[in-house]
């Protein structure tokens, strides 16, 4: 048998039907659902008189529209947001899928809830009407975002019509330097490949620096595979993975655990398997990074300066000129001279407990800069509860951060958590697109530690230089 990549193995284990032209029906093990991309899909089922094919494999949770202020029990003020969440509520109950409503402590961002509850397991196919589904690849699952028509297709048939992507290997060799995190790895990779560098591929991240990451760090890396254009990003499961999964509410138990573990241990890329594209970075070369523009590929080490449009070629020249104007930056300006109005800690990229610990470590016993708006939005109600138990919430609040309830919040600003015109934010989220965090808002993507440093100084700051 010819050697296979991890992606090949998971793919092969899920093909329910293959047509002569290679078009496959890929069976889906877990379908995650949130309120923004699902109402039209459920409505489509209803119109056609169809049922959800496998409600036991379908998990719904509202996250994009939910308020994160402490008074959220009083309901959602914005009528359209409220209707969308109510629609999910109604659809989840009517179609009988697993559901974590707004007032459940387990509610949170769908990509944090899935792994936390043990829904996401190695070797699975996982989809969701959300591009950051790539997150679940951290478990050695094939996980990717789909559109609403495909959400309806999966609801109705538990399959997707797919053609196989190509294999791409991203290897991070060696060790990371102190102050460098999973977020810096994933941004550095996108800086290297560009946002279209992964188009047509599924990425497998590997190498010592990836192996050394915790599960949460691996989720951060895979989360942004989509920003590199890849259909999915994944990491072969190992002891770190099994340790994380074991004992979670929906993880297998007893004899089933043993059987699962036996299979999971076969999920690695065989020696000699073919990759269509290979990118290698040295762990020691990666610095803490920030984005300066309006594309996640606009990445530079914090020690750098704002580039000039002339530094680029082709269509990127005009794009860079537009980005600089939008971001209000001047070529040659030191990145550490950029003043920040707001800090956002949260999102499916960096809203887990280790992220909050990293922030607490930087700000413990200190105060954020006067006039700074700084917000921590835990990724789930359980992350929030754990942070409170560990005393992290207190450290953050003492430093001057707002301590919010769980949701997507200012990552995409569908709820009231938004930037105002011209407001500049250091964010631990995943997209710095124009208007992403609010109309004319300006976003710099950073790691949690770097965001914490910016909150203290009021500028983009090299966390390694902080006293």
């Amino acid at each position: 048998m010819s050697p296979k990549t991890l992606y090949d193995k998971i793919w092969d284990a899920h093909v329910a039907h293959e047509a002569e032209d290679g078009t496959c029906l890929l069976y889906i093990d877990r379908h995650l659902v949130h309120e923004v991309t699902s109402p039209q899909a459920f409505e489509g089922l209803r119109m056609a008189g169809r049922k959800v094919h496998a409600p036991e494999k379908t998990i719904a949770v509202p996250d994009h529209n939910v308020p994160t202020t402490l008074d959220r029990a009083k309901g959602i003020e914005n009528e359209e947001s409220r209707i969308q969440v109510e629609a999910l509520d109604k659809n989840a109950r009517e179609f009988g899928v697993h559901y974590y409503p707004v007032d459940d402590v387990r509610q949170g961002i769908v990509h944090i809830v899935g792994p936390e509850q043990g829904w996401t397991l190695p070797g699975m196919t996982v989809v969701c009407g959300d591009s950051h589904t790539a997150t679940h690849g951290a478990f050695g699952a094939l996980a990717h975002g789909i559109g609403t028509s495909e959400v309806e297709h999966v609801l109705a048939t538990q399959t997707l019509i797919q053609k196989k992507s190509k294999n791409m290997k991203v290897e991070i060799t060696g060790k990371l330097k102190p102050g460098v995190t999973a977020k810096d790895i994933t941004l550095a990779v996108i800086g290297e490949t560009g946002t279209a560098g992964g188009t047509g591929y599924v990425i497998e991240y590997c190498g010592e620096a990836i192996r050394d990451l915790s599960m949460e760090g691996r989720m951060t890396v895979c989360n942004m595979a989509i920003e590199g254009g890849a259909r999915a990003g994944l990491i072969a499961p190992d002891e770190t993975t099994f340790e994380y999964v074991k004992g979670r509410p929906h993880a297998p138990k007893g004899a089933q655990w043993e059987a699962a573990l036996n299979w999971w241990k076969t999920l690695y890329t065989d020696e000699g398997a073919h990759f269509d594209k290979v990118v290698t970075l040295k762990g020691e070369d990666i610095e803490p990074v920030v984005t300066w523009g309006t594309s996640p590929e606009d990445v530079l080490p914090i020690t750098g300066v704002v580039p000039s449009p002339e530094d680029f070629t082709g269509g990127k020249v005009e794009a860079a000129r537009r980005s600089l104007e939008y971001m209000g930056l001047t070529p040659g300006q030191k990145l550490t001279d950029i003043e920040i109005d707001t800090v956002f800690i949260g999102s499916c990229t960096n809203g887990r407990i280790e992220d909050l610990r990293a922030v607490a470590e930087v700000v413990k016993g200190k105060k954020i800069k006067d006039g700074m708006r700084a917000m921590v939005v835990p990724g789930s109600g359980l992350v929030r509860a754990q942070a409170e138990e560990e005393g992290i919430a207190e450290i953050l609040q003492d430093a001057g951060f707002e301590w919010r309830l769980a949701g997507c919040s200012m990552c995409l600003a569908m709820n009231p958590d938004q930037l105002s015109e011209g407001e500049r934010c250091a964010a631990t989220s995943n997209r710095n697109f124009e208007g992403r965090q609010g109309y004319k808002g300006r976003t710099h993507l950073v790691s949690p530690a770097m965001a914490a440093a910016a909150a203290l100084t009021g500028k983009l700051t090299d966390v390694r230089e902080l006293n």
């Binding site: 923004v36 495909e150 019509i161 279209a196 059987a259 005009e318 794009a319 997209r431 697109f433 109309y439």
Partner: protein
């Protein structure tokens, strides 16, 4: 789904690279639970001032491009989120075909589900079409899916590749779910086998 066979229409040039889904349809418009009505907010922040007035130099606000049915776009069109509201907005505006050097994966798939034909061509050919589109309303291109050909206003013919299955669905306006349900026996037998092999799933 509406069929796509052949269109002859105005092509609008949008050479900017990395046009993302937040540009195509900002999130404030994602709160609808309908599939329709997004066209008026297509490219909202590029197209309108905050007071709702039009930004004159935005391409689709120019008189010669207001009825564009084809977009010639910069690299990596549709990157970002999975929101199908992006192709819904594009289709609702009246655009049926987009040409670029590359598309983001999810956007690409979403387009086909909504009767929009995304065409990938090499840079040189996109450049030819971009130049042709810049001529304005008198330059009407023809996109023939059956023949897999684009004809410029000068009569130059450019052929393109398209996945055979996706082409078949577009030409006939076929509903994917209906097609898949015809294979329900295969799905059932996969499930039986998988529940033996991986009972924990």
């Amino acid at each position: 789904m509406e069929k796509f066979t052949k269109i002859q229409g105005i092509a609008a040039p949008m050479p900017l690279v990395n046009i993302d889904t937040d540009m195509i349809i900002p999130k404030v418009f994602l709160k609808s639970i309908q599939r329709t009505g997004f066209g008026k907010n297509l490219f909202d922040e590029m197209r309108y001032n905050r007071d709702g007035s039009e930004i004159e130099d935005f391409v689709l606000n120019k008189p010669q491009y207001r009825d564009a049915e084809i977009l010639i776009a910069g690299d990596n069109f549709g990157c970002g989120s999975s929101r199908e509201h992006a192709p819904w907005a594009i289709a609702d505006f009246g655009i049926k075909c987009i040409v670029s050097t590359s598309f983001a994966d999810i956007f690409f798939n979403n387009s086909f589900k909504n009767g929009i034909l995304p065409i990938v061509l090499p840079q040189e050919q996109v450049d030819i079409l971009m130049k042709d589109a810049e001529k304005g309303a008198n330059a009407r291109m023809t996109v023939d899916l059956e023949a897999q050909e684009i004809t410029t206003s000068d009569g130059e013919v450019i052929t393109f590749e398209v996945d055979a299955f996706k082409k078949h669905c577009l030409l006939n306006g076929l509903d994917d779910i209906g097609l898949t349900m015809e294979k329900s026996a295969s799905i059932k037998s996969f499930e039986d086998k998988a529940s033996q092999e991986r009972p924990w799933v």
